[in-house]
Symmetry: C2
Subunit: 230 residues, 2 copies
DNA sequence: TAATTCCCTAACCATCCGGTCAATGAACCA
DNA sequence: TGGTTCATTGACCGGATGGTTAGGGAATTA
């Protein structure tokens, strides 16, 4: 079955590109299609792919099951559409965010961006992580965009940390790549803590403070950047 | 359905205890039962509960489907047995491990224990995390033991860090609980990095070094504990 | 007005899944 | 030897699921 799914994924991706190029199906029956998508997102998110039946989606969207198959050729097609819809907010242009700030401020801004993003998208992130964990479906369609985003983020961190180290602004006991990796581990650890325990806000501030202390600790001359509030 | 599952979980747990007391079913048809369990573990692990059919398990175990239902009353029963089997190695007595070492050495030993355990049980941990992420099944049977273990571990860390702080052996800028929480975030972040990228060993040593530096950084008098190798 | 296209549905179908059952051979008692 | 329990199986069942089909109503077009 995994073979069939793989083909479906590729096919769906191609079709999606084609659709966007021709601008066809996106505009035809927008309302019901959207209703279906919203219902599917909810159901897939907290029940998974295999546990969610098309009949359930139909009922939740107040349409007939057949209409779903009119909008989306197969169940996998629907799933791909859900993925793409959920992936939209994940397109962040990190480089844009930081203006002409110093390295320290830029790093801390990236850290906050990460944690705030996690806090604001907890449910869909939980969905993605669960999906990533098992190779269940769409390993390409998922791993691709997410990992691309992730690598971009890490690249930015490595670069910034390297420059901060050169200026003696930040922890220098380890190579920039190692520091960036550990920083990402901290962030990911905080992420999964936020995903499991729903306390969110309280810990974020504490985590940020500790990360700042770790990276820029006793070093002077970095106090100029006031910590932006959440 | 979640209700029924909850009951099944409780029932399965009780039965297990009873079985061990009487030593009954464990010895009757050990061979085939074991074969089924091994096959189920594999399939459940990398396909999940709902995506794995009893027919598949039967085929993988070279037995008839009916035999599975003779050994395990329901599919959930089989799943519970798989959980218990996988949970076995997770029973670690942390307190036992550390003898009369200093706080610093004990903390580092706990850190290493954690990372080594993750490294050696990567596949089943991936399974558990995926299972925990969605509330899919066995939330009680899983959350219970795992969280108990986790809380015990954190408790030990908080205690040790507190004592190390009192002796001025370790990072004192934050309360012990916060330090312990961040340490656990670091560990969990490293964990998921290990789960996704299968490089394992290389990063573990680096992670340990960075954690030691973070916790005990510039402080003197802690060099007496030689870093035990992995 | 007649034809065509779009959106939507009830009913249906083939397949697969969890679970049951009657039967059967082997081992162990009597 | 004959009966009882244990271990195992092929055949079967009701239900649910992904997917199809034939058709209908409302716009749009000609």
């Amino acid at each position: 079955m995994s073979e069939r799914l793989g083909e479906s994924v590729a096919a769906a991706n191609k079709m999606n590109s084609a659709e966007q190029g021709a601008g066809a199906a996106e505009l035809r029956a927008p309302e019901s299609r959207d209703e279906i998508l919203k219902a599917a997102i909810k159901l897939f998110a907290n029940r998974g792919f295999h546990e969610t039946s098309m009949a359930e989606v139909a009922r939740a969207a107040n349409v007939s099951k057949a209409l779903i198959f009119w909008h989306f050729k197969t169940k996998e097609d629907l799933f791909m559409a859900v993925l793409n819809r959920l992936l939209e907010p994940y397109v962040i242009d990190f480089a844009e965010e930081a203006g002409a700030l110093g390295e320290v401020a830029q790093i801390m801004q990236l850290v906050e961006l990460y944690l705030m993003f996690v806090r604001d998208n907890a449910s869909s992130i939980r969905f993605f992580v669960a999906q990533l964990m098992r190779g269940e479906l769409a390993s390409d369609a998922l791993t691709g965009p997410v990992m691309q985003l992730y690598d971009g983020y890490r690249g930015l961190l490595v670069d910034l940390i390297g420059r901060a180290q050169a200026k003696d602004l930040c922890l220098k006991d380890f190579p920039a790549a190692a520091v960036a990796r550990m920083l990402l581990s901290m962030l990911n650890g905080t992420l999964i803590e936020m995903l499991f325990a729903e306390n969110a806000d309280a810990d974020v501030a504490s985590a940020i403070a500790m990360i700042r202390q770790w990276l820029f600790g006793g070093r002077a001359g970095t106090a100029k950047d006031a910590p932006p509030e959440l």
